[in-house]
Symmetry: C2
Amino acid sequence: MSGDHGPSELVPGVARAAQALDGVRFQLHGDQDVLVKELARCPVLAGRVEVRHAERVIAMDEKPAQALRRGKGTSMWGAVEAVKTGEAGVAVSAGNTGALMAISKLILRMGADLDRPPLVASLPNDKGVTTFLDVGANVDCDAARLVEFAILGEAFHRAAHGVAKPSVGLLNVGSEDVKGHQEVREAHRILRDGHLDLEYRGFVEGDDLTRGVVDVIVTDGFTGNVALKTAEGAVRFIRDELRVALTSSPLARLGALLASGGLRRFRERLSSPPAAPLLGLNGLVLKCHGGASGRDFAQAVRAAADLARSDFAAEIERNMRKLPAALAESVPPAAEGAP
Amino acid sequence: MSGDHGPSELVPGVARAAQALDGVRFQLHGDQDVLVKELARCPVLAGRVEVRHAERVIAMDEKPAQALRRGKGTSMWGAVEAVKTGEAGVAVSAGNTGALMAISKLILRMGADLDRPPLVASLPNDKGVTTFLDVGANVDCDAARLVEFAILGEAFHRAAHGVAKPSVGLLNVGSEDVKGHQEVREAHRILRDGHLDLEYRGFVEGDDLTRGVVDVIVTDGFTGNVALKTAEGAVRFIRDELRVALTSSPLARLGALLASGGLRRFRERLSSPPAAPLLGLNGLVLKCHGGASGRDFAQAVRAAADLARSDFAAEIERNMRKLPAALAESVPPAAEGAP
């Protein structure tokens, strides 16, 4: 029922995903009448879909606290509950992000020692995709939290992109050990010396996000949010300027027309993937962006299925169990102290 | 003597600047023989230049501590010393950034209550230029320091861009008062309620850097450095991808050729200005990037002259005098405390 477009766009999206997902079955949570009507237009889903009726839908502008209080019986609540009971391997929603996070936390509980699931962004780089977290959920982060992001992001990158041993970098303002603030230097020591099962490569800088020197880049939710939005703003600005450049004269317009195939592939490369997981929960939940088209939602559903069929959760748990020892081992140099 | 190219590129740069700067005189610090030889090729500088001989030049890879110990008698030291004695209104260097910062601090002293001059970036936005600081000098920043950046950045923006009353925003992860970490919320209160002579517009986000909603955007040196490098990385990535897109076929290459005028102006719009001031010192010093061409250096010298002829220093001092009262007035709500 979720997102700006609702079932008329998203049910065909599920149908599109189903064609590429042999053996996967679907639960649709929402208004039964509406969903059955949409399903009648998607013969490929016949026999693979179960409709779970929900009386209410959480509005896109509802506050998380309100969603928690009045969420029971909504389509979103039902979908997350199905993950909790094991009926579903993963839940996908294009609905209200804050509400989805709050309801998922309440129902599934955090597995890691985090207050909130970090938000994950996927950025194109010279070699493929950079997994970047936290892009906004946890504004204040101590060293332990940054290390948890590394564990979660690494497992996600492997599951999502099929990289056997993703490399991990910690975002900083320079590459030497003495650079940056206390939290980032301490997280660096834990990741380097803590015997976690991670391919840790040390500090990276902002421009490495698009360079592909490592697969996963970790930072606090404040820095990550600013960096992601700065990158998005730069892309938006450049697109607008490019449009001006390519329509500045009849000759330039003709040039743009001749180059349009290449320019279209260029735009596709820059558009971010439609879905991101809520990490660190005892269960899988994917957030698809609110404006998702059927095509976007299909991509999100396929990503969700890949994640559900991977060893994602077990790999995270294995590293999380090593974390207390790693934290205890890391004794910060006496000279540094809190800022 | 400074920069990757030295006097053969920079002296003609000064000559180029001199043509646009009536009544401005120049001191060149460095090896007399070399400089006199270069000056012979620049008749426009005749009678407007004084050469100050220096035995030594600080190398581009010299450590700041080393530069401080052995800096006396170098061309960089002489140029900054001339600002201290009042012989020069402003110093411009394309040399070693760390050394320039250390020598400037030692000779001129900080006027503000800062450890180091914040680094300033100038980014293109939809309406003109965003002045963005600190992009790397002060990694740990309390609220008072963020407010000082606002005062310095505002005065710089007015002097550099001729905007009578530049607007100021504080970088955060959302626009509501409760968003962000403690330092940024406290700085917000001081800027909003502290009776400083600033056009403060509240919180802005990463994508506002290229949008032009405010003229000056303030953040700590960690976040600012990451954001700036992320934007630079995004621009670099997009340029590379665009090059691929526009050379992917003979038709696309023809298109790129036809659109080349527009694309050239597009590239110029994206390239960052060649110089940035070291703010907060008792005296004016501009850092020009190391790889500066003569044309870049000319632009830096012109920017330096604009700054020296403005009321820059007096305007900063006026606001800085109001700062202690503004800090004392801002009583943080008891519930918030340190994170």
